[in-house]
C-alpha cells in the first residue's frame, strides 16, 4: 500500500494518537503523519475531518476520515487483519471492548485529576486511580497481556496512557509500582515491544508538558 493512502493527524504527546501509531506499527502499515498545532491553530483538514470534536487523532484512509482512537484502532484491525488485535470469539471481543470502554471512561480523567489538583482533592484522585488500576489488574489476571498470550487491542488502548504515569507520580508523589505491581509488570512487558517503545514519547518530555499545563491552569 503506497504511503500516501494513510494519513494520521497527530499531536506528539497525545496518548490517543499513540494508540493509532502502535496499531499501525503492529500491522506494518506505512503511513504519513502530520503534527497538529493544538494550541496555536488547528489545520483546515483537521477541522473539516473532525467537525464534531475538532480533536486528534484523525486517520484518513484514501481521504476518508475516521475519528476517536478506540474506533480507529478497531478499523485498523478490520482493514489489515494480520496480526489480529481483537480476539476471534464474539464473547472475548465483547470482554475486550468492555475493558477498552472502562479505560476510556476512567483512566485519563483520573490521571488528569491528579496533576490538576492539590491537597485533599489530589489524595482522592490518587485513590481513584489506584482503584482503577486494581480493576485492570483483575481483568489482566495471570495473563501476560489483556488479550492472553499475545499483545492485543486492550493492551494498545491502555499502554499509551501509562506514558503519563511518570508525570502523575511526580506531581502526586506516589509510585504506581508500589500500589499495583502486577500492572507495573505488564507495563514493562509492553514497553519491551518495538511498536510501543518506538512510538511513546520520552516520559520526561511528558512531565515537562504536564508541568507547562499546570502553569497554564494556574496550579503551580
Amino acid at each position: 500500500m503506497a504511503k500516501e493512502d494513510v494519513l494520521l493527524l497527530d499531536f506528539w504527546v497525545s496518548p490517543f494518537c499513540s494508540r493509532v501509531k502502535i496499531a499501525l506499527a503492529e500491522k506494518g502499515v506505512a503511513y504519513q503523519q502530520r503534527g497538529e498545532d493544538i494550541f496555536g491553530g488547528k489545520s483546515e483538514l483537521l477541522l473539516k475531518s473532525n467537525p464534531i470534536y475538532q480533536k486528534v487523532p484523525v486517520l484518513l484512509h484514501d481521504g476518508k476520515p475516521m475519528c476517536e482512537s478506540t474506533n480507529i484502532v478497531q478499523y485498523i484491525d478490520e482493514t489489515w487483519p494480520s496480526p489480529p488485535l481483537l480476539p476471534s470469539s464474539a464473547y472475548d471481543r465483547a470482554r475486550a471492548r468492555f475493558w477498552a470502554d472502562f479505560i476510556d471512561k476512567k483512566l485519563f480523567d483520573a490521571g488528569g485529576n491528579i496533576w490538576k489538583t492539590k491537597g485533599e482533592d489530589q489524595a482522592a484522585a490518587k485513590k481513584e486511580l489506584i482503584q482503577i488500576l486494581k480493576y485492570l489488574e483483575g481483568g489482566l489476571g495471570d495473563k501476560d497481556y489483556f488479550g492472553g498470550d499475545s499483545f492485543g487491542f486492550v493492551d494498545i488502548i491502555a499502554i499509551p496512557l501509562t506514558n503519563w504515569f511518570f508525570a502523575y507520580e511526580k506531581f502526586g508523589n506516589f509510585k504506581v509500582e508500589e500500589e499495583c505491581p502486577k500492572f507495573a509488570a505488564w507495563t514493562k512487558r509492553c514497553l519491551g515491544r518495538e511498536s510501543v517503545a518506538k512510538t511513546l514519547p520520552d516520559p520526561q518530555q511528558v512531565v515537562e508538558f504536564v508541568s507547562m499545563m499546570r502553569k497554564m491552569h494556574g496550579i503551580e
Binding site: 475519528c67 474506533n71 478497531q74 478490520e78 464473547y91 468492555f98 470502554d101
Partner: protein
C-alpha cells in the same frame, strides 16, 4: 439456536436496556427478562457486573456481556444471519460506531438535566439537548434510517430516547417536534418496526418513573442519584 440460554437483566424505563431488547427482537432471539430493582440489586447482577453494578447485563450461556452498545454488537455478531445491525464495510462500520458513541457521550447529560433540574440550569439543558438532536438530524439527512435503507446500530442506539420525549416535554414545557421535526419523523418511522414498538417503554410509565425519582430524592440531589439508576 436450540439449547441457548439468554437472560437479560434489565430495568423497564432504562433506555440502555431498551437498546438490547430491540437488538434481541430484531434477531428473533428468545430470552428471559429479569427486571432489576436498582434500590436492591440482585446477587446475580452484582456477580455479573462487579465493576459497574449496572444494567443492562446480557447473560449468554452463563457468561455476562456488559455495556449496552457492546451488548448490541455482540448480539449482532452471534446472531449474524438475521437483520444485520452493523454495516459490512469497515469504513461505514467505523462511522456507525462513531455516531453511536457520540450519542452516548452527548445526549444523556442534557437529557437528564431537562427533567432533573429547574430554572436556568434546565433552560441550558434544553438548549444543549436540542443542539445535539439537530446535529443528529444533520447526520440522518434524507435517509430513512441512520443506517441508510436498513435499520442499524445508530438507530438502535438512539430510538429508546423517543420513549422519554413525553417526560422531557412535560418537565421542560417544550415541544421537541417543533424544533426537530425530522428526528421525530424518523422516530415515528422506527416505531413501525415491531422490534421497536414492543421494546420501548410506555412514555407515560417513563414519566411516572421520573415523577417518582423527583419525589424520592428531591430535585436538588437528583443528579447524583441518577447515576445509580442509569437514567
Amino acid at each position: 439456536m436450540a439449547g441457548e440460554e439468554v437472560i437479560l437483566l434489565s430495568v423497564y424505563p432504562s433506555m440502555f436496556s431498551m437498546r438490547v431488547r430491540i437488538a434481541l427482537a430484531e434477531k428473533g432471539v428468545k430470552y428471559e427478562l429479569k427486571e432489576e430493582d436498582l434500590t436492591n440489586k440482585s446477587l446475580l447482577l452484582l456477580e455479573m457486573n462487579p465493576v459497574h453494578k449496572k444494567v443492562p447485563v446480557l447473560i449468554h450461556n452463563g457468561k455476562p456481556i456488559l455495556e449496552s452498545l457492546i451488548i448490541v454488537q455482540y448480539i449482532d455478531e452471534v446472531w449474524h444471519d438475521k437483520n444485520p445491525l452493523e454495516p459490512s464495510d469497515p469504513y461505514e462500520r467505523a462511522q456507525a460506531r462513531f455516531w453511536a458513541d457520540f450519542i452516548d457521550k452527548k445526549v444523556f447529560d442534557p437529557a437528564r438535566g431537562i427533567w432533573a433540574t429547574k430554572g436556568e440550569e434546565q433552560e441550558a439543558a434544553k438548549k444543549e439537548f436540542i443542539e445535539i438532536l439537530k446535529i443528529l438530524e444533520g447526520e440522518l439527512g434524507e435517509k430513512p434510517y441512520f443506517g441508510g435503507e436498513t435499520f442499524g446500530l445508530v438507530d438502535v442506539a438512539l430510538i429508546p430516547l423517543y420513549s422519554w420525549f413525553y417526560a422531557f416535554e412535560t418537565c421542560g414545557n417544550f415541544k421537541i417536534e417543533s424544533q426537530c421535526p425530522k428526528l421525530v419523523a424518523w422516530a415515528k418511522f422506527c416505531m413501525q418496526r415491531e422490534s421497536v414498538s414492543q421494546s420501548l417503554s410506555d412514555p407515560h410509565s417513563v414519566y411516572d418513573t421520573v415523577l417518582f425519582l423527583k419525589k424520592m430524592f428531591g430535585i436538588e440531589s437528583i443528579t447524583t442519584q441518577c447515576s445509580i439508576f442509569l437514567l
